[in-house]
Amino acid sequence: MFILTKIADLVQIPPSQFEQHSRVAIENNINAKYANRVIQKIGLCICMYDLLWASEGLIGHGDGFVNVNVEFRMIVFRPFKGEILFGTISNASPDGLKIRTDFFEEIFVPYKELPENTEYDHNEKAWVWVVSEDQRMHYDMNETVRFQVIDETWNDQLLENGGQEAVERGKSISPYTIKGSMMKEGLGVCIWWDY
């Protein structure tokens, strides 16, 4: 579920960080900018993997920042289509199940991607897989599951008009959402299959 992405960027080191070793200052700057942020069509950035090249530092006019051109590789979370992952059930609604991992929240399994004979119990507010009359398997909250990635959606939160409204709208839509499935044999709640 992880890839390495090669990126070229400009790092600006403020005078307050001059006493740090350049490697350290560069790594901190890159991680501060990218860690836990989504790059559209690339994925969720985790952290810098290695620094491939850095130029000499040039001091810009007007400010004391040292500008360094860098090329580095970043660890990025981006599961491929068809990949199987672990997750935990975070929410159940008549539309389907919401799944999360400790570091990524936006995974949704629509009800069509649950095995046949799965029904929504409105009293318990949970999905139940009716295997047979006396075997009802519950998709309980916080249970660890295996799911398959079937699609991904990108929402560019670019602020075209600006203003507070656009900021609010940007905050409510996730930049990166994953659609999952638990249809295949072996998917679903882990304790059903692990023996």
């Binding site: 992880f2 860690a35 952290c47 672990f86 882990c190």
Partner: protein
Amino acid sequence: MRILEAQNAVLTNVEVHKFLSDQAKQYQAEKRRGPSNLETLRDEMLKYFDTSPNPLSQKPLKYDVDAIPVLLKKLRPYKISKGECIMVVNMRPSNTATLNAVLEDMENRFNEEQQEAIINIIIEVLGEFPPPAEEDEDNVMDTTEEGQ
């Protein structure tokens, strides 16, 4: 910011786990704290790897990054694709149901014997979780009966 290469390489969970654990140790040794978004994310990721039934939650770790080429070599005769191998390393399927989830069209590609052989290779190279401790209960029962 320019993306030079969107996908330069693919990493398995164990490789990322090693990288983050080593980074955590190195920062601690240098008494250094990275930016807060990095520290938070690293804690969340290590917690994810540490949660059962993730194979990396088993302590001591049953396999490390060196197991990957060994596994690839042993699985080569079965013509398992790269993506499937990554999933095998990440998920460590231990029975035919979980193996079926990871392999495409398993029933048609491999007969029962081959499926078992693949699982045995996985257990051999990547290890497995200890079986649930049911035997202990039986032993306790026996001793009590004998004690009478």
